[in-house]
């Protein structure tokens, strides 16, 4: 039997506050989408709210004509693909031995100390920059992939997940004569699909959203990843720079940095995240709970 309670004032208030929270998070996104479909003048005058004014797709058409945007988009795609593949291989290979009891893997604690120490302490950006420079990785996609090859936090997440897999499964495989690598691939990985999905999605999002490494390591325009490219267009335009421009440069820059055009770029650069968002939402709660609240 299901009891039906009456809806009280408190219920309405709670629903209202929740709706406010929800809308608050969507409004900036909807506003940007609306601007991207509006005409330039209305956008520049700030007349666009949540619905486009004088609907048009000029911003998107301009993107289609801009080679640089596509270059950068595919640099980012390549980076996500290669970076995530490397992240995942290393994470899996590290998480498995580290999930073993100290009795089964005597050197574990030394590895653990190193990993934890590195998670808490770093040399800062300047030594990292000098290292990448000395390794001759400047201006290559490897500068965006190799320095972050081991996502330490994800290693710990997956390690904790592996710890929860019953020992009996491993023992059975040992009796069948499987070596640790075979056990990892044939026993542990198939049992960790949700955790692996979570971590893969985290890696994809991280690589897609990263802009700073592109800013300091990449000099050639055609190698810039998308977020760095957008950042350089929109955020870098400060008054000092504008003062030193010729009127022609200025008008070109204004053309480029028109709100409509920029908003269209932002919307397109958001699309991949929006596409994987349903999967993200399905899995990431497991990920956070796995990492944060555990005994």
């Amino acid at each position: 039997m299901k009891k039906k309670r009456k809806i009280s004032t408190a219920d309405i208030l709670i629903a209202f506050l929740l709706i406010v929270c929800g809308l608050m998070c969507l409004i900036p996104i909807l506003n940007t989408v609306a601007i991207s479909f509006s005409d330039k003048t209305s956008a520049a005058m700030g007349r666009v709210g949540l619905w486009p004014i004088n609907f048009n797709v000029a911003g998107y058409r301009a993107i289609l004509e801009e080679k640089q945007f596509f270059h950068s988009f595919f640099v980012s795609v390549r980076r996500v693909a290669a970076g995530t593949a490397l992240n995942m291989s290393l994470t899996i290979l590290m998480a498995y031995p580290l999930s073993k009891e100290p009795g089964k893997f005597r050197a574990k604690k030394y590895y653990m100390w190193i990993v934890i120490f590195l998670m808490m302490f770093n040399g800062g950006i300047v030594p990292n920059f000098i290292l990448v420079k000395n390794l001759n990785l400047m201006d290559t996609i490897w500068a965006l992939i190799l320095p972050g090859a081991v996502p330490v936090f994800n290693v710990i997440l997956l390690m904790n997940f592996f710890k929860g897999i019953p020992d009996s499964l491993e023992e059975a495989a040992v009796i069948d004569g499987a070596n640790p690598l075979q056990i990892l691939i044939k026993v542990f990985l198939p049992m960790s699909k949700a955790a692996l999905a979570t971590i893969t999605l985290f890696c994809i999002v991280n690589h897609w959203n990263a802009f700073f490494d592109g800013k300091i390591y990449i000099n050639s325009l055609e190698k810039l990843p998308l977020q760095t490219y957008i950042q350089s267009l929109v955020v870098d335009l400060n008054p000092e720079q504008m003062a030193s421009m010729t009127p022609k440069q200025m008008s070109e820059q204004m053309q480029l940095s028109s709100l409509t055009f920029n908003s269209a770029k932002v919307v397109v650069s958001m699309l991949p995240i929006l596409l994987i968002y349903p999967f993200l939402q399905k899995y990431f709660v497991t990920g956070i709970v796995m990492g944060a609240v555990k005994e």
């Binding site: 309670r5 929800g22 934890i116 040399g123 030594p127 190799l146 972050g148 300091i216």
Partner: protein
């Protein structure tokens, strides 16, 4: 017996081999740069290299502490970080409680879907959105205009910048941060609420005497872990929102390190400032993990 030992050694050899590639990357990209911090104690010149540059002891640090800007930057960093931690936790807990009290599953789903989204968007993108919204003629100013407020230049005003930085981060992360509290609430025994209701407790009493005490350990744990973040005001956000006009209130240690170390190429001084932050952060983090272990039995591994 002997056979068993041999087997264990073979297994462990596999473990070492599996760790090798990852450890090699960690060595090259994390441990080698730690050696690079010696340039903080040098007058580093790229042409002379680390081994040829002049050793200057603590000069770079002395210079840092005498720099009036530095204390302003430290203050900005701490104020923004503490604001984010405090407001962020408060908002996340309040939101989690609201969600827990909501009886419509559909509404819950919809709201959750929208509040988690900003966490996954980059600050580059969000900065574009914010500058649209917060511009002089933007949506926010028009909305405030309805209440008779003068339009503000939010992002270039020293009066507003820190608040915007804090609110922006709270806005982006509160949904995501609420997840741990929501998870903690799912383990509350529904019988407790039923019993309280029979005893005549109203909704407010139930929140205050059942929900909050049940998630209190999680709240304390999160507070402790956040203590390690006091020096982190959030580089990505500040870097994408600030401009020279708001350096006075908005410049934080990380952005300062970037400007002096990489833009102005004062490698030694930049490294010194970065090292100062790293050391303090390390002490705070280690302390917070220790406390979390002691009081909440929390261990990262």
């Amino acid at each position: 017996m002997g056979n068993k030992y041999k087997k264990r050694n073979v297994t462990e050899r596999y473990y070492h081999l599996m760790l090798l590639p990852g450890m090699a990357f960690l060595f090259l990209f994390h441990i080698v740069p730690l050696g690079g911090v010696v340039i903080a104690f040098q007058n580093f010149k790229p042409v002379k290299g680390i081994f040829g540059s002049q050793f200057v002891g603590l000069d770079n640090f002395r210079r840092l502490f005498y720099l009036p800007d530095f204390w302003q930057i430290l203050e900005n960093t701490l104020l923004i970080a503490v604001g984010k931690i405090g407001m962020g936790m408060l908002m996340a807990v309040v939101f989690a409680v609201l969600l827990n009290e909501c009886r419509s599953t559909v509404l819950k789903r919809l709201v959750q879907t929208s509040v988690y989204l900003p966490h996954f968007l980059s600050w580059v993108i969000l900065a574009v959105m914010f500058s649209n919204l917060l511009s002089y003629g933007g949506v926010v100013n028009r909305f405030l205009g309805l209440f008779g407020m003068e339009p503000q230049m939010f992002l270039v005003s020293n009066k507003w910048f820190r608040s915007i930085a804090v609110l922006g981060d709270v806005w982006k992360e509160f949904g995501y941060n609420a997840v741990v509290y929501v998870a903690a609430m799912t383990s509350i025994d529904p019988g407790l609420y039923e019993a309280a209701k029979i005893d005549g407790a109203n909704r407010w009493d139930r929140i205050w005497h059942i929900t909050i005490p049940s998630i209190l350990p999680t709240i304390i744990l999160m507070m402790t872990l956040n203590m390690g973040q006091i020096m982190n005001a959030g580089f990505d956000e500040i870097f994408n929102l600030y401009s020279p006009l708001v350096y006075e209130t908005g410049d934080i240690i990380d952005t300062y390190v970037y400007r002096v170390g990489l833009t102005n190429m004062q490698y030694s001084f930049g490294t010194a400032v970065g090292l100062f932050k790293s050391v303090i952060s390390f002490i705070l983090l280690a302390g917070s993990y220790k406390l979390a272990d002691k009081f909440a039995g929390y261990r990262i591994f």
